[in-house]
Symmetry: C2
């Protein structure tokens, strides 16, 4: 264990995690397209049919042979014999020959023999005859089969998050089912002698668990499925049992201490006891998040996050979320970022990359300002309720000044992609 | 029906809809907090307990009476008698009296009699005695009960969308269950003789349904639950039956025509036949979306949208989504908007507010540009796949010029709130 005592930088920690664990998608499952919202497409989707599937009329009017209208004018109409009507959604046996025409409505298939449609406004009907007062060119007012999408054309790429528009595109191909990536299961548990599950009676000296609840929701927001395991005391045998349960029920696990106690020695030791050299990161030179521990057991990653709720979410955001997204098959997405002005001079912790959690506000000049909210022991819940995101101070940076512009990474995310 | 023939402006249409239907939340249900992600809080949440629930130590050290340390210095320490140890999560019977001290760890409850904590670094232990080398003030290194949140304090407001942070805040109060608003059910169906359900065989002259699928997903994105009813032909009796089914199974309904055929007379007539003066909007002076029809039957709104998939989504975005959000209890949220430069000169349709669907790109100067994608009959699927959002040209505006800056409203949304 001693080899881990030197703190890694954040970049080193990320490299070490990546050396030991390359996140991959977990499999493909076929589901109903109607249930595919917010899932991730597992295979490139190619058009199985032409769109439109047939030559169709784009106006209400009359299907003709264009050549029959050549040279016609307002006072010199063509006279064609009506041979029927073509409706939408119906196959037709009508064949348009020289000198004949068929009535047609928008969206109906062009009958055999016809190669143009005359708009109804440019015609006049008398008995069984049609007078055409304007010439049409070949293909005029016709949308050709495949003009929108050709059969075999790629329409969506694997890794695409499916929203309303993408689901519409797949429906257009007639797909009632779709192949999507399996959802990674993430076990979530809290540790600490003083931590009590919400809903239970709060005994003297105890506090309610926050992290298993907020981290379970954060797993959902990252595209994973949380497996809530509850609260475990900081005892070696019970932690080992909890971790074995986590690994048996999920593809990875996230643990955190109670609000006051970070994962002290007992969690790293429990992790280390479960596999040879299982702990790969034990402490990171960041603030908050220094006690963060990462282990790999049975090739599954386990992240042990700090106990402070906002710090736990922040480290989750930095280290865990990108891995869940990767396992869920989502394309790498950047945080939503906004620029704001710092309202205070903020110093980094010595030798540690420092993340300042902030609340975004508008100042008197209507400028967006980033107001630091403390992540210390005081105000844990207030901080959690108020923190919109965080900005970063580099290890070697002296300070961020009052009024200096900073880039705030938001805890909230866009539904799909970013702009 | 004749009274509806004059097209309403978009503003008039919205007013008329609001006159006839004031969207309200549908009820409150108690669910598990672990399942509350993305639900909407139905009641203001107030703190049921103090946070922290007890006076707690914020450092590892020794609980003392501050007065026992007054005047001590590096070379003139106080000598106190050790009377026990206080751990986290355990009630203690220890009482600290003048001249005594108890060992205490971060997060543990301050024992009776003690009013400050000396940091371990400022002490030295010898046998059963503790030497204190630095004075502490009363309350030093103690976080008082309720210092973060006082019992009875409002912590979240009704209407709050519950994300990871809000769920954490509620967990901190010990809430394992939470009251949220019921999810509005929205029946979704498509109409058109040529429209075929995805998964079925495509007969000659037919096309696959897009809108019921994309609109069902859009309902989810708005906080509603779609009830998919499928495809119905444009026949009076079948449409009436479908609409009755929609109203019986849901709180509102959204219909649309096939890709080529808008809701022509048959849908307004079917709607009108189901209730006295049920149609309140029949045609709106917008492009696209002119044939949009809105009816109220049994006090439930039915929106009949245009058949073109991107137009249907656009009108859904303008008229339907705000109503679903309201019924879901979500706070009014604005679209996510970005500024971009138009790549073409675009004219409005005469007398109609015109919405230009666009794809966002970066130009050579890395500026965000809004490239119009046509919503006409050609390229329905291509448009759907490409359209990121839309900008607006007012009825009385002459045109939007090449290079003019426009505000693009995105189809995609933020997970929670906006900045």
């Amino acid at each position: 264990m001693k080899m881990f005592r030197k703190l890694l930088t954040l970049d080193e920690a990320q490299q070490v995690i990546h050396q030991h664990f390359k996140p991959k998608v977990l499999g493909v499952e076929e589901i109903k397209l109607l249930e595919a919202h917010n899932r991730v497409l597992a295979k490139d989707a190619t058009a199985k049919i032409d769109i439109p599937p047939f030559n169709r009329a784009t106006v209400d009017g009359y299907a003709v042979k264009a050549v029959d209208t050549f040279g016609v004018e307002e006072n010199k109409p063509a006279k064609l014999k009506l041979c029927g009507i073509v409706n939408v959604g119906e196959p037709t046996r009508i064949v348009v020959t020289r000198g004949t025409t068929a009535e047609i409505v928008t969206g109906a298939p062009i009958p055999e023999g016809a190669d143009a449609v005359v708009m109804v406004e440019q015609t006049e009907r008398k008995d069984k005859c049609l007078y055409v007062y304007s010439a049409v060119a070949k293909d005029e007012n016709i949308m050709k089969a495949g003009a929108d999408i050709k059969k075999g054309e790629k329409i969506l790429e694997a890794g695409q998050l499916l929203g309303s528009r993408e689901i519409g595109v797949l429906a257009a191909m007639g797909m009632a089912k779709v192949n999507v990536y399996a959802i990674p299961h993430v076990a979530v548990l809290s540790t600490g002698a003083e931590v009590t599950e919400p809903g239970e009676k709060l005994l003297p000296g105890k506090i309610y668990d926050i992290n298993a609840y907020s981290l379970a929701a954060a797993v959902l927001e990252s595209g994973g499925k949380p497996i809530y395991l509850g609260v475990f005391p900081d005892e070696m045998s019970k932690l080992q049992k909890a971790l074995r349960q986590a690994l048996a029920s999920a593809d990875m696990a996230v643990t955190s201490g109670g609000v006051s106690v970070g994962p002290k020695d007992v969690m790293p030791r429990a992790l280390d006891s479960l596999g040879k050299s299982s702990v790969v990161v034990c402490g990171i030179a960041i603030k908050p998040g220094k006690p963060t521990t990462v282990a790999l057991i049975d090739k599954k990653p386990i992240f042990s996050l700090p106990g402070h709720p906002t710090s736990a979410l922040l480290v989750f955001h930095l280290l865990v979320r990108p891995i869940i997204e990767c396992m869920a098959g989502r394309k790498a997405r950047k945080d939503l970022r906004v620029k704001g002005f710092s309202t205070m001079r903020m110093f980094p912790a010595k030798g540690r990359r420092t993340f300042i959690t902030v609340r975004l506000k508008r100042d008197k000049l209507n400028r967006l300002v980033a107001e630091p909210v403390p992540t210390g022991l005081s105000g844990a819940i207030t901080t959690l309720a108020k923190a919109d995101g965080f900005f970063e101070i580099a290890e070697n940076q002296q300070f961020i000044n009052v009024g200096e512009e900073v880039t705030v990474r938001l805890f909230k995310r866009l539904e799909e992609g970013e702009t």
